[in-house]
């Protein structure tokens, strides 16, 4: 599928492709109502309410005024629809602003100012500095003589550094005036959302350059929503417009996430629905029987002898309507409201503001805060998430000499400084590679300082370090790089750039040394991507050891290498490279293959070691969260040893003898299987012991494990509390999340870079660190935080409170609905099972909408334990994780409570208001008052901390109930005229109400007190301890008994011993699974460092009770 864009052709493309009108809108004015209604009614609950509301229109069966259902239903729908309309209106406004922005476009050979929405595919668009790009353009001209321009892509991928874009070679050198008249064709793929790839070709028509196909890459494009910077002007051909731009295509509403709690609420709703059907059937049958036997004798009801054919259905349907309030219509609105507030609390939280960058935390997804409290697995990225991603050059090893080993900083190592000043050729070459083998852009600030704009932090660190060592990369103009070394200026001309990809794991530069005209290949990359290609005869053992050593210190290593190219070799290769670059299919793979043809026979110069410091508070955060029973997995693209070192230093895994690290590896499928089985066996044996067993697996073995031994790996995943996965690709990260999710674990993925986006989107909760690798992850995530340590507060404070609050709110909503519904059911037994409603329509409607919803909404302020106590005792999170506060058994408790309260209210109302006082309206108001009083006390009793707002809501609501009813009682037209005034004057009314309250609440208080004092949950104990002000001691950290190691058929090795690493490396791009793999051969690691306290063992089965 291809698209042919004819440059500057004013007619042909107009109808073929859409114009540049951007539309993010979900609705139009015309389709808003039907589409929105359709969306709302696609939810089961709404369908149910609509069915009920429609049934109520049939006056024969409706027990109450249809308004009592239609009112709330319309209200709820109006609220949702208004919210949607509001959002959509804002989208419309921003679209309109973008669409009506004026841009310079060539029309009929003349530059004209038109609105952005009128741009068509093939138009030439002119941009000036700081303009926003209106659509996806292929560059054809720029003010820069080399055809470069700089763009900022922050709006697209969140990366704030400038990126260079270059005009295609075919357009190079075309006169500015001629650009208006340029004609040609661009062959490009159909619109897609890959913002990193654009595989196209361009051919210009005569008189420009005839029949020369020029390959285009993403480098030649500027995409919609980027900004042109540091470039006076640029112009380009529109290739994708409107909603078909790369940004437009990648826009999309991610699938809504459903929390475990929502799923539970849905399940309970389903159960209530079934219960309701049963009640309706029983009462329907009873009603029909009563009608046929008794009602015929009750002459005053004047039943006709023969009814219509649907006669048998009438009574069941009436009961269906009467019982429809069992499922509270208000629950959805209430939940949406409180969830919005939970999210706001996260946004507002001052203790989660990153002070360095003053970035507040942000909850993008407002609907899943409860899930935070139920997290069981955290999958974390390493770089930038646990570490600061602030790279600092620490050590290096040049030609076998280690620098920086003594003082930990190579820049201060006198030996290195000496070597630099003496001009040792290896060292100088090493520094040259450090300084120029990269994609860094140096810019000179006004004060004369040189600022580097680097895409990768490692490159930045290397260039900075080289500058410190007097190799200053100070200018890059077009293809010419200028480096100042000890006051002499060296120039290099870049011939080709072999870019870094995560598959190749290295980058190279082919350049011509302007001093002597030699062609050089400079490479830098991961050890396994460089060392295997060392020139035959070079001893790489030194470098392997250096890499080992640095990795053990948790440093990131890069190997630097170079070689000289012969002129003919370069020319031959260059043709292939160009050809590969202009292929449309599998370009990336082809390019990689061609690159490999030249990147061999390298002269390895040395190894650099870059430190990436741990973020503040990472070890404490991990320890606290692990105490809370959360399991951690580290998924990193880094090397195994670096990962293990970082893991050790941040409490991720415990050192021996507390912890045990099992390694799964193997070169072949069979080896991986054996290794996996061995680890699994060890894991099974050790689960019962208080020992932290972790496993480590690398991307290669993981691939086998995921594809061939998924079941065994899944079992391992369940058994293991900790895992380290190194060298994993973004899609493997997502797959791991998928595996844990498939075992019904709640997963949280946290990361900061673009490679974490898939994992973040896949996980139940995605948390992005708004860090240095750009905002890509933060934008895709449900929550974005500034620092890893905020995760503790996010989960333990916000997640836990949200869970507790929603648990109460949802169950309470059912309680109050069931309460009034049970009373209706009881009443039907004394009203001839005919489906009479005891309560009038106004009361029924107001009960759900006003009387009972306000007090419960302030439960969002309730705190069962103070934040400090929770942080101090993170184990308490267990109650949320295991769903202790909302599950069928707690729900049964609320169900029983509502049944009990209904009995109390009903019996007292009908007995206190018997005989001469048994007037329908009065009895109904007595019963309703009883319900209101009871619910106020229930909320009060379930509230743990009363703020002024809670008092206002609970007791104010009670007063509000009387106020509303007095108003209704004052209206002669209302059904309850004077009723409430009469009741309030009767002593028997107040006596009955107090009786109901006391009779309803005292057993509940007694039970609660008994459980609170004699069967306290951990929460209760902490509450008591906290409020009595005593010292809170936790006896959780009991030292486990030392036990002999299980050393089956796996050998144990000390980490301090030299590793017998197999120095055989395989080409990464090789497709053969049988290629030789390095094997670490260290299934067990002893970690010799101080012992740490053990962690509590939670057994998973206790979740079920």
């Amino acid at each position: 599928m291809k698209r042919y864009v004819y440059i500057n052709d004013d007619e042909s493309a107009h109808d073929l492709y859409c114009d540049n009108r951007i539309s993010n809108r979900k609705y139009t004015v015309l389709n808003f109502i039907p589409k929105n209604l359709w969306e709302q009614f696609s939810r089961f609950m709404n369908q149910y309410f609509l069915l009920i509301a429609c049934l109520q229109l049939w006056s024969l069966i409706t027990p109450v005024n249809p308004a009592s259902t239609w009112g709330p239903l319309i209200f709820i729908f109006a609220v949702s629809a208004t919210k949607e309309a509001w959002d959509d209106y804002h989208r419309y406004l921003s679209d309109k602003k973008a669409n009506e922005k004026e841009v310079w476009v060539v029309r009929n050979g003349i530059k004209k100012l038109i609105q952005a929405q009128d741009i068509h595919v093939g138009n030439i668009v002119w941009l000036r500095e700081n303009d926003e790009v209106p659509c996806d353009l292929v560059l054809i001209g720029s003010s820069d003589p080399q055809g470069l321009c700089y763009i900022e892509t922050a709006a697209m991928d969140g990366e704030t550094d400038l990126k260079t874009r270059v005009i295609p070679s075919a357009c190079m050198g075309i006169d500015v005036e001629l650009l208006h008249k340029i004609k040609g064709v661009i062959e490009c793929p159909t619109p897609n959302k890959d913002i990193r790839r654009f595989d196209a070709n361009m051919r210009l028509f005569p008189p420009f350059i005839d029949n020369d196909i020029c390959p285009l890459t993403i480098k030649n494009t500027v995409l919609q929503s980027c900004y042109l910077r540091n470039t006076e002007w640029a112009c380009g051909v529109a290739v994708y417009t409107g909603n078909e731009t790369k940004l437009g295509m990648s826009r999309g509403i991610p699938e809504p996430k459903l929390t475990a709690m929502d799923a539970m609420i849905d399940k309970l709703t389903g159960a209530i629905f079934v219960f309701q059907i049963v009640v309706v059937m029983v009462l329907g049958i009873a009603g029909n029987v009563w009608k046929d036997t008794e009602a015929k004798k009750q002459w005053y009801v004047l039943y006709p002898d023969k009814g219509p054919w649907y006669e048998l259905l009438i009574i069941p349907l009436r009961f269906e309507l009467l019982c429809s309030i069992m499922i509270p219509i208000s629950i959805k609105v209430s939940l949406d409201l409180v969830k919005g507030l939970y999210a706001k609390f996260i946004d507002w939280d001052h203790r989660m503001v990153d002070l360095e960058t003053s970035t507040p935390s942000n909850a993008t997804n407002t609907a899943i805060s409860e899930d935070l409290g139920q997290v069981e697995y955290i999958l974390t990225d390493k770089t930038g998430t646990l570490t600061e991603n602030k790279m600092i050059f620490r050590r290096c090893c040049i030609s076998g000499i280690f620098y920086g080993n003594e003082n930990g900083d190579a820049l201060k190592d006198v030996e290195l400084l000496h070597a630099v000043s003496s001009g040792s050729p290896d060292v100088v070459q090493f520094l040259t590679i450090m300084a120029i083998c990269n994609t860094v852009i140096p810019t000179q600030s006004k004060t004369g300082d040189i600022l580097y704009k680097a895409q990768s932090q490692d490159e930045d660190a290397l260039v900075q370090a080289a500058a410190h060592l007097h190799m200053v990369f100070f200018n890059k103009s077009g293809n010419i790089l200028e480096v100042k070394f000890n006051s002499s200026v060296l120039q290099y001309e870049v011939l080709e750039t072999l870019e870094f990809t995560s598959d190749r794991k290295r980058m190279s530069l082919v350049l011509r040394d302007c001093q002597n005209g030699k062609i050089l290949l400079l490479s830098k990359g991961a050890d396994e991507a460089i060392l295997p290609y060392a020139r035959t005869g070079q001893q790489t053992r030194n470098f392997v050891e250096a890499v080992e050593q640095y990795a053990h210190l948790g440093l990131r290593t890069l190997c630097l290498a170079w070689r000289e190219l012969r002129e003919d070799e370069y020319r031959e290769w260059s043709l292939m490279f160009r050809e590969a670059n202009s292929t449309l299919v599998d370009r990336e793979w082809r390019v990689a293959e061609v690159c490999q043809r030249i990147e061999h026979n390298l002269e390895v110069l040395g190894v650099t070691a870059i430190e990436d410091r741990l973020q503040d508070g990472v070890p404490e955060t991990i320890e606290t969260l692990r105490k809370a029973g959360i399991n951690f997995w580290m998924l990193t693209g880094d090397k195994q040893n670096t990962a293990i070192q970082i893991a050790l230093s941040c409490n991720f895994i415990s050192p021996e003898p507390k912890g045990q690290l099992l390694s799964i590896d193997g070169k072949t499928e069979d080896e991986v299987r054996r290794s996996l089985e061995r680890v699994l066996l060890t894991m099974r044996i050790t689960t019962s012991e208080p020992k932290d067993v972790a496993f480590v697996i690398d991307g290669w073995a993981l691939d086998f494990a995921l594809n061939h031994y998924r079941k065994a790996f899944t079992e391992l995943a369940i058994l293991s509390r900790t895992a380290i996965c190194c060298r994993v690709t973004p899609s493997q990260k997502a797959q791991l999340v998928q595996i844990l999710k498939s075992c019904d674990y709640r997963t949280l993925a946290i990361g900061d870079g673009g490679n974490d986006v898939r994992m973040i989107q896949q996980a139940d909760i995605g948390v992005g660190i708004s860090g240095r690798e750009g905002l890509q992850a933060a934008r895709a995530a449900d929550y974005s935080i500034g620092k890893f340590r905020f995760l503790k507060r996010l989960i333990l404070v916000h997640g836990r409170y949200s869970y507790n609050r929603t648990a109460f709110l949802s169950q309470y909503s059912f309680y109050k609905s069931l309460l009034i519904c049970f009373i209706q059911i009881f009443f039907s037994f004394i009203s001839g099972v005919s489906g009479t409603s005891l309560f009038n329509s106004v009361s029924l409607m107001a009960y759900n909408v006003f009387y009972t919803s306000v007090p419960v909404l302030v439960s969002v302020l309730d705190k069962d334990l103070s934040e400090e106590t929770v942080i101090q005792h993170p184990q308490i999170l267990f109650y949320c994780q295991a769903g202790r506060l909302l599950n069928p058994s707690t729900f049964a408790g609320w169900f029983g409570r509502s049944l009990f309260h209904a009995v109390v209210v009903f019996l007292i109302s009908i007995h206190a208001y018997a005989y001469d006082k048994s007037e329908m309206e009065e009895v109904s108001m007595v019963a309703l008052s009883g319900c209101i009083w009871l619910q106020a006390f229930v909320v009060a009793m379930e509230t743990n901390s009363f703020t002024i707002l809670q008092h206002l809501a609970i007791w104010g609501n009670l007063a509000g109930f009387y106020a509303i009813n007095w108003i209704f009682s004052a209206l002669p037209a209302s059904g309850m005229y004077t009723i409430m005034f009469r009741l309030c004057r009767q002593p028997s009314y107040w006596i009955s109400i107090f009786l109901m309250t006391a009779a309803g609440m005292s057993p509940i208080l007694a039970i609660k007190y008994f459980r609170y004092t004699y069967r306290p949950s951990k929460i209760n104990t902490l509450q008591q301890a906290e409020r009595l002000g005593g010292p809170i001691l936790s006896l959780g950290t009991i030292e486990p008994q030392p036990r002999p190691l299980i050393e089956k058929d796996v050998s144990t090795l000390s980490i301090t011993q030299p590793k017998n690493r197999n120095p055989v490396y395989e080409p990464l791009l090789s497709d053969s699974p049988n290629a030789t793999r390095r094997s670490s051969g260290t299934p067990f690691d002893f970690f010799q460092s101080q012992s740490r306290s053990s962690l509590p063992n939670y057994s998973r089965n206790c979740k079920d009770n």
Partner: protein, 369 residues
């Protein structure tokens, strides 16, 4: 891995500073730090609450019970005895026979002094005024507003008779209770005041002063029941008369707001057993008095075996005789006292320190609470 020269090169920081994010506003509410009172269930508080409840409830219960006991009540069931022996085999046929003599004499003995006003109620059993077909079978607009005399929605099947709307329409009005009682003491007539037995608000606002019955009890379908054709007139001198001729005979009707029996009847009862006020006797009755009642046993409760009772009752501050509240209060008060005692004993026998850290052992199965 700690290093002193962490920020040796800080060029990357400039990008971070560019992010223009402002700190969220601070308030106690946004930080969830509103001052809160956090009560806990200490033994002392809980036991005091229970004691307090029992201390309040027991006296109130005693007072309620006394109030109820002070009320003197005479209940006489007459539905069975007012059927002549000859008709006892088919009571329904007797009650439905319009030509049969329904007069019945009963005597009531006053066993205790009764202070005026003495309320005269009729009590019906097994009568479902709250039945769904029945309770809604009325039209309040029509009752209130003479203009709306033809609005009979909801009154089915008693909305029209002979093709014309019925005022008042509906089953409730149609099934109006029509037994009458004439009381005498020592052969001297006892006046029963039938004025003011209904709610004033009903008379003033629910039943219109200019609304007159039309076409009432004139229908062809009388579902097995035999109803009196005319509204029993209240003993009153300010009634207006109006003539309406539907063939013959000639009917006299009073305005609805004066038809207090109808108003009382139309305040439907929530329970199948209920009493409705018939009138008030405004003299004291002495202990030992014999009241003889001449009653017209017109109303059909026989087809559904409902009981009919005549009730004479005084009232107290809690209303009529009803021991329920008193007993319930004593029960709840007693229960709370018992709980308070039980908790006190448990507290002393098995003291339990609140917030005891020994219950915080996380290593045990945390589910075992």
């Amino acid at each position: 891995m700690s290093s002193s020269s962490a920020a040796a090169f800080g060029s990357a920081d400039s990008t971070a500073a560019r992010r223009n994010t402002k700190r969220p506003k601070y308030s106690k509410f946004t930080q969830q730090e509103l001052p809160a009172c956090k009560p806990i269930l200490t033994p002392r508080a809980v036991i005091s609450v229970f004691l307090l409840v029992s201390v309040v409830f027991v006296p109130v219960g005693v007072a309620s019970l006394l109030a109820s006991r002070k009320v003197v009540e005479i209940i006489h069931r007459y539905d069975a005895e007012c059927i002549p022996q000859s008709n006892s085999s088919d009571k329904v046929a007797y009650i439905q026979n319009p030509s049969a003599d329904k007069t019945c004499n009963i005597t009531l003995n006053v066993h205790k002094h009764m202070k005026s006003p003495i309320h005269v109620y009729y009590q019906l059993d097994n009568f479902y005024q709250n039945h769904r077909r029945y309770v809604k079978s009325r039209n309040d607009e029509q009752l209130r507003d003479s203009e709306k005399w033809d609005s009979t929605s909801g009154c089915k099947p008693e909305d029209m008779a002979n093709g014309k709307p019925i005022v008042p329409c509906g089953l409730i009005a149609w099934s109006l209770f029509n037994d009458t009682y004439i009381f005498s003491r020592n052969n001297k007539n006892l006046t029963v005041n039938k004025k003011g037995i209904s709610w004033k608000s009903d008379r003033d606002h629910k039943f219109g002063k200019d609304v007159f019955p039309k076409n009432f009890q004139n229908g062809s379908i009388i579902g097995g029941a035999r109803l009196n054709d005319s509204i029993p007139f209240a003993v009153s001198n300010n009634y207006q008369c109006m003539y309406e001729i539907y063939g013959s005979p000639l009917f006299f009707y009073e305005q609805l707001s004066q038809q207090e029996d109808l108003i009382v009847w139309m305040r439907t009862a929530a329970l199948p057993t209920f009493r409705k006020l018939y009138g008030k006797i405004e003299v004291d009755l002495n202990e030992g008095d014999t009241i003889s009642v001449i009653l017209k046993n017109n109303y059909n409760t026989y087809s559904f075996s409902g009981k009919k009772k005549l009730v004479l009752s005084t009232t107290g501050w809690l209303g009529g005789k009803n021991d329920f509240l008193g007993i319930a209060y004593l029960t709840v008060g007693g229960l709370c006292f018992f709980l308070a005692m039980a908790f006190t004993i448990i507290y002393f026998v098995k003291p339990r320190q609140l917030g005891d850290p020994s219950y915080l052992s996380w290593n045990r199965n945390p589910g075992g609470h």
